[in-house]
Every structure is written in structure tokens, then in C-alpha cells.
């Protein structure tokens, strides 16, 4: 089976760069599963999980991104994300605390932060896509 090269880039550094089998990215209109030979798509992303699988469909890594863009062509997939964290390194208690603090604040900015934090919490709790 063929592979597709995948770059995950944050403003500070190149987080992930390798040949992989499948990638799932959280597109704004719904999740996108990307296999080698995918048609050309440019999509913006919502906060959520970027899942990376090997050729034999084993989960290699899952990242949490707070939004960004994906550029996909048949040989390559590039995800530009504003902040990237590995899902494993997220801590449930600290995020719950953050959500509580944000819920008491008002304003557009904290609303955005709140939705990101909630998406983070969801990313820890859910386990669909773990096996494909």
C-alpha cells in the first residue's frame, strides 16, 4: 500500500513530518479522512483531533489542534495549526479548571478560548477513530 507524506506545522516548529498511511483531520464542515491519492483540497479546521495512522491502520499519534488549515494533494498533506499538543499530554483536571474560569468571564476572546478548551476536553474523553 502506498503512503502519503504528512507535515504538521505549528508557528514555532515542525511538529511531525513522515510518510504515513492515513490521516484524519477535523475539517470545519466535518472530519476528513485522508488516504494516499486524495484529491486536492484546501480546508480550514475546527479545534479537534488530528489522528495519524501507519500503513496497516495502527494509530501512531494523535494531536490536538486549536484550529488551522489543511492543504491536501495526492502525495502530500500539510496541516498548519496554531497550537499543537499531543492528546496524551493533555491533563484533564487542569483543562476542567480552565473551563470553569473561562465560563465566569465574558467577552468574545474568552468565548473562543472556552470553545477550544471544551474541544480539548472532548478530545481526551472520546475514543472513536482509535481503531479504523
Amino acid at each position: 500500500m502506498a503512503t502519503i507524506s504528512f507535515d504538521l506545522v505549528s508557528p514555532e516548529n515542525l511538529v511531525f513530518n513522515d510518510e504515513v498511511g492515513t490521516i484524519i483531520v477535523p475539517g470545519k464542515d466535518g472530519d476528513l479522512g485522508i488516504l494516499p491519492g486524495h484529491s486536492k483540497v484546501m480546508s480550514s479546521l475546527r479545534p479537534g483531533r488530528v489522528m495519524v495512522y501507519s500503513e496497516d491502520k495502527n494509530l501512531i499519534k494523535s494531536f490536538f489542534v486549536s484550529g488551522g488549515f489543511a492543504e491536501i494533494n495526492p502525495e502530500k498533506c500539510i496541516v498548519l495549526a496554531e497550537s499543537v499538543v499531543e492528546v496524551n499530554s493533555l491533563e484533564k483536571t487542569s483543562i476542567e479548571k480552565e473551563i470553569q474560569e473561562l465560563e465566569n468571564k465574558e467577552g468574545k476572546e474568552s468565548e473562543e478560548q472556552l470553545s477550544v478548551a471544551k474541544a480539548k476536553l472532548e478530545a481526551i474523553n472520546v475514543n472513536y477513530y482509535d481503531k479504523i
Binding site: P11, D29, M42, S44, E71
Partner: protein, 296 residues
């Protein structure tokens, strides 16, 4: 004629200055390496973003809402100039060249009848413009520490700029910063930040035009563009901050290297002077003794 003791003290004080400058040089050298790595790590993101943007730019038809970041307000009466300097001195002409260039730019814009406001980044330019054109400063950012705080610091500046822009406070924004060319040379550069200047990336667009044409956009071009444009402003600022940081360390390294060398030369010439004076003193004493002995 200075006494022997005076020269000795002078040698000692130049010696300790030399120690300080050479230590600063070494610190700057290691910081430079780190800043350079940071700047290089940030490059893939910004270049990718630029590519995306240039392939989307053609689809921006009208100048409403966020798209204004690309198309402009239609006026060019009010300017915001953002000089990016260091927070600390002792780095040669790094800060003064930024200040000089910005001052010249502001004067020439004002000469053309434009209204100019300033938003200095870094203590050195803030202090300078606080002295010469205090009433034109709308906001200043100091102690950014871009190499440790990272992207956040750029976001602050970018948010402030966009807030002002969408309030209609200005039409064009120009950054003045030191572009990092190599460890020992920086070049003062002006970059138009708002509205976005896509002309320099257009060449690439032509090259890839055929492949860009068949992209599918999700949700659609305009939505992506609306997300992309504000991000691009932040990322451009981030890139500039990193470049300027690397440039600062480079400039400081070069300046301190020079200072160390000068101190070395000074010590050499002072030591020579010390030895000459000492010899002259001995000779004088001998002559006195001999002539004293002869007279008896």
C-alpha cells in the same frame, strides 16, 4: 606625566572591561544560535501560509469585512509605523539604525501630507520616540522576550493592530525591522503589513498556477480567506520578531567582539607605556646616584 600607579589602575580597569565584553560576546553567540534555530523552525509555517494565501488572493473580490486586510480600505491617508528594536543596548548600530530609518520614513510620509502614528516594539525605540514624537505613539510593546514566550507575543501585537484597523483608525501599516542576513550583518527593512502585499509572492503563483487552479475549498474560498488573513498578520509579525531577535544577538556579538579587540589593543599600548615610564624612572634614579657619587 601620569605616575606608575595611575597607569597600573588604568590597565586593570580596561582589563576588567575586556572580561565583561568577552563574556557578553560569548553569551550573545550562544543566544544567537538559539534564536537562529527558532527563526528557522518558524519558516515552514510562514512560507506555507504565504503560498496558500497567494493562491487564494485572486478570489478576493470586494473589500468588505476581514477581506479588507488584503484589499485595503481604499484610502491611504493614515499610517501606522511599527519600528521593531531591541530591549537592550550594547549591540552596535542595531537600535539606532532602526530609529533613524523610522524617523526618516515618518518625516517623508508627513511631507506627503499623510497622518502617521507610531507603535514602537522594544524599549530602545519606545524611549527614542517618547523623546522626539511622544504624541504620535498609540501603543508600545516592551519586554517581549520572543525567544521564550514565542507566538503569544506576536498575537498581542497583531490583535491590537487589527482592532485599530477595523475601527478605521488607520489605512496602512508598515513594519521597520532589522532583517537577519548573517550573523554579522543585518539590513534595515520596511515591510507593508496591512493591506497585505502579495506582489512578492506572485511569481510563485504564476509558476504553480496550473496546479492551484483545481483545488477544492472547504467550506469555501471566502471563509478560508477570512480565517487565513488575520493569522497571516500574526505570523508575519512573529517572523519579524524572530528575525529581529536573531539580528540583535548577531549585532551584539559583533559589537562585543570589536570591543574586546579594542580593549586588548588598549591594554597592549598601556603596558608599553607603563614599561617605558618605569624604565625612565630607573634611569633617572641611576643618573642621580652616579652624579651624586661623582661630586664626592
Amino acid at each position: 606625566m601620569p605616575s606608575l600607579k595611575d597607569i597600573k589602575t588604568q590597565i586593570n580597569s580596561v582589563g576588567s572591561t575586556k572580561k565583561i565584553t568577552s563574556a557578553m560576546k560569548m553569551v550573545a553567540a550562544s543566544k544567537l544560535r538559539r534564536s537562529q534555530e527558532k527563526a528557522e523552525a518558524a519558516r515552514p509555517y510562514s512560507s506555507r501560509l504565504e503560498e496558500m494565501l497567494s493562491s487564494l488572493a485572486s478570489s478576493a473580490a470586494s473589500g468588505e469585512g476581514i477581506i479588507k486586510l488584503l484589499t485595503g480600505t481604499g484610502n491611504d491617508q493614515n499610517y501606522v509605523v511599527v519600528p521593531v528594536s531591541a530591549d537592550r543596548g550594547l549591540c552596535g548600530g542595531f537600535n539606532s539604525s532602526i530609529n533613524r530609518e523610522t524617523f526618516k520614513l515618518v518625516k517623508s510620509l508627513e511631507g506627503n501630507g499623510k497622518k502617521v502614528q507610531l507603535m514602537p516594539v522594544g524599549k530602545k525605540s519606545r524611549d527614542f520616540f517618547n523623546r522626539v514624537m511622544k504624541d504620535q505613539i498609540i501603543e508600545s510593546f516592551v519586554d517581549l522576550n520572543v525567544s521564550s514566550t514565542g507566538y503569544e507575543s506576536a498575537l498581542n501585537i497583531s490583535n491590537k493592530l487589527q482592532e485599530l484597523y477595523f475601527d478605521g483608525k488607520f489605512d496602512k501599516c508598515i513594519l521597520v525591522f532589522n532583517k537577519f542576513k548573517s550573523a554579522i550583518s543585518q539590513e534595515v527593512t520596511q515591510q507593508q503589513l496591512i493591506p497585505l502585499d502579495v506582489s512578492n509572492s506572485e511569481k510563485e503563483e504564476e509558476k504553480e498556477n496550473s496546479s492551484n487552479a483545481i483545488y477544492d475549498y472547504e467550506p469555501d474560498e471566502e471563509t478560508i480567506l477570512k480565517d487565513l488573513l488575520p493569522k497571516n498578520v500574526s505570523i508575519q509579525i512573529f517572523k519579524v520578531l524572530l528575525e529581529s531577535d536573531a539580528g540583535e544577538q548577531g549585532a551584539r556579538m559583533a559589537a562585543m567582539d570589536n570591543a574586546t579587540r579594542n580593549a586588548g589593543e588598549m591594554i597592549d599600548s598601556l603596558t608599553l607605556k607603563y614599561n617605558r615610564t618605569r624604565q625612565a624612572f630607573i634611569t633617572k634614579e641611576l643618573i642621580e646616584i652616579i652624579s651624586g657619587a661623582e661630586s664626592i
